[in-house]
Symmetry: none
Subunit: 439 residues, 2 copies
């Protein structure tokens, strides 16, 4: 790819000398393309990721648009965006189907030509050949490049991205085309856009911190912490609440990196002092990462026996790469017979107390711990719903046990919400019990 | 509120006789207002709700915009929207703070005046008085009404909505202002907008279908199906692709319900014929629902032994309410010792072939099947990554075995992507193997 220099086009779009190009203001607009994002079923989430990354570079996102696979509307949206914003990022519509119109529409909005790049075409054909397929003709449009664009290779998919700098109506503009699949988009932005973009921007000193709190209600946390963060008018504090999780995002800009970092660290320190051991993460780590970190650090191992959570706890623990160092294994024991067979829960205990009981949770934890020769065993039994609840044992009732060599601790909770939420809450508490035990 | 009739305004916005007003085309645009929706942490979800309701009335949503609390940008977005779409819905920015600019900006975009409505003002004051507060002056702006608007009372909050019909640049337009809080917005739209809107629209008969395809690439599926759906110019076909999943959404409008249903059913039938047994769902069900449905229908049971998927398969199967009828249980066996202990995989087999091998996958499936006395056993072993790959056994290599009484079938795959994606693909294939076995 060569950069076309100083070519004035009929719409007023000019490619500048690439070396001298530098954006002075820092507004961005994100355009998500795809008719599926205009249905009640799907939502653009890529823009959340990009917004975070752009903010970290000192760029503010001022507008987001979702437009369908309509060339006319896409051209119109592109032109309005180019008129009002410094950076315009297009996501999606780069694939092989007839609905994939982003390349054509952006070229039309800019008033420039598309050309088919023989190198990309060759790579596409090789990609198909490597998998034993012949490339179908519709794939060739993925090799179409907007005149003057730098091609951004896509190691994770077939459609490359594009990077275009120039003037539009007399102002500096940066245009980025990214693929829609989140995995491809994230990798391409991180690996090929972040540093390229930083070089085009005025230096920004931004510091962020993320604090996470497990198993405390949002309004309780906020009532304790609000008097603190309200004193830090130069730090933007955002509170996000999920099931069994409250997250504080701290964000500040300052004249130097040291100053910015110091301000967010100061505020983070005060919040941690107020909430004490309820803060499980001070750098944004997930609860499964933190529990795994403590297990690894102590040289301890874990085994789990799950009933109502159906494998979700094992899944969360093993979602962390390297978890095989501390996670030995687990069993999902829905039936009473398997509770006995795989975790040595005495059949009589189940008859006496019922499968959903404090006693069975403890026996599951102790049984799986011994079976797997683990330092710790977790047992979970409960009613995830929506069916299966009784007056005595309602939907949402869950017992979680943590067994170690010296003792077994059992927690009883009545979690609110649907099946998915109850299961999530239960695993959240289980992970937090491990963290508190080892902290 | 009185409707101003036939008043021509400088921007070309005219209020028509309200009784005769009827939209003939049916495109809508949704604009969400609020700077918090432009952070990495918050997302507009109201538009999903409105889209569903609008689609049911035969209205297509063609654009969505999120704009911050900036009057200039909001006016610009409003003007573009009014120019290109029949219905424009604004959500949020109706509250009492200085950031609440929607009323002002829409009035400016239309080139009409705002006036303060004494009746609304009185109700606001009463609302505060009833709670024992005196109303602060900033609240008064919530009584500002766009000239010609019908006020939509808000029983769930302080800010009323507004409903405006007229011509803009020579075309019929409907403008709706709704409050941002989801609870207020939903109630106001359902109770005060749906029937009002239906009266302005041509009668709509809409039918939809959802088809899902497992474990086939999007471009391969599309190249086979595109020639079919392209013949149905009256049916809108949207393709969504996820990891190991391609989804077709079919949507049509017709002069009668029967005709609409017949058209989508016809197209769905042709697609199913073309893709044969690759279509696992024809009503939008998930793959775990379908696999569970077949297991339940055949009176069969399932047990699983997972290594690299770490419980994800069990988790997906048990995410379905009622899965305890067919899912007996599972084991997550990371260590070699536990593969032997919980699924009777001979230690010598692991030494001979390695833990990631066709033989061990088969032994896991057969072992867990016998242990749990299940109709079917699934065994999964592989390298989920990012660490642990070798030249011979690279990251992404997964063996999946399905054991039944008479035979054991083993699939070998090299899945692309990160840990999360490899694990997802593996469980997707496992569920599809169950489906195909029972189909």
């Amino acid at each position: 790819m060569t950069i076309v220099e100083d070519v004035r086009i009929k719409t007023g779009f000019i490619y500048p000398h690439s070396a001298s190009f530098r954006l002075l203001s820092v507004n961005a607009e994100i355009i998500a393309i795809g008719s599926e994002l205009l249905t009640p079923f799907r939502q653009d989430t890529n823009s959340l990721y990009l917004t975070e990354k752009l903010n970290q570079l000192g760029v503010e996102v001022v507008l987001k648009t979702v437009v369908g696979d309509s060339r006319e509307r896409l051209v119109s949206v592109a032109q309005h965006a180019l008129f009002r914003s410094d950076i315009v990022i297009f996501m999606g519509g780069l694939g092989p189907t007839e609905d994939d119109l982003t390349r054509e529409a952006v070229a039309e909005a800019l008033g420039v030509e598309l050309h088919r790049d023989p190198e990309i075409l060759k790579k596409l054909e090789q990609r198909f050949a490597a998998r034993g397929y012949q490339m179908t003709p519709n794939n060739a449009q993925q090799a179409d490049v907007i005149a003057g664009a730098t091609v951004l290779p896509n190691p994770n998919g077939s459609a490359p991205g594009q990077w275009i700098t120039g003037h539009y109506e007399g102002r500096d503009r940066l245009i980025i085309l990214l693929p829609g699949p989140p995995f491809e988009l994230k990798a391409m932005f991180d690996e090929q856009c972040t540093e390229r973009l930083r070089a085009k921007l005025p230096p920004a000193y931004i510091a962020t911190r993320v604090l996470k709190v497990a198993m405390m209600g949002e309004s309780l946390v906020d009532s304790r912490v609000a008097p603190i963060y309200k004193r830090y008018t130069d730090v933007q504090t955002t509170i996000l609440a999920g099931a069994g999780d409250v997250q504080f995002n701290l964000f500040t800009r300052a004249a130097s990196m040291e100053e910015a970092q110091q301000r967010v660290d100061e505020l983070a320190g005060e919040i941690e002092d107020e909430l004490e051991d309820a803060v499980y993460s001070s750098k944004g780590e997930s609860l499964e990462q933190i529990a795994g970190y403590y297990l690894g650090m102590r040289g301890a191992t874990l085994a789990v026996a799950e009933s109502c959570t159906g494998g979700l706890l094992a899944e969360r623990v093993t979602s962390i790469s390297g978890s095989s160092r501390y996670f030995l294994g687990g069993v999902v024991v829905y039936s009473n017979a398997l509770k006995t067979k795989f975790a040595d829960v005495p059949a009589g205990l189940i008859t006496q107390h019922g499968a959903v009981s404090r006693e069975v949770a403890a026996a599951l934890a102790e049984g799986i711990r011994k079976r797997c020769k683990a330092t710790f065993g977790i047992g979970i039994t409960g009613v995830a719903g929506p069916a299966g609840g009784t007056e005595e044992k309602p939907v949402g009732l869950v017992y979680i046990a943590l067994a170690s060599e010296d003792r077994t601790q059992v927690e009883e909770r009545k979690f609110p919400g649907d099946r998915k939420r109850v299961r999530w809450f239960a695993t959240q508490l289980a992970l937090d019990m491990i963290r508190r035990k080892l902290m």
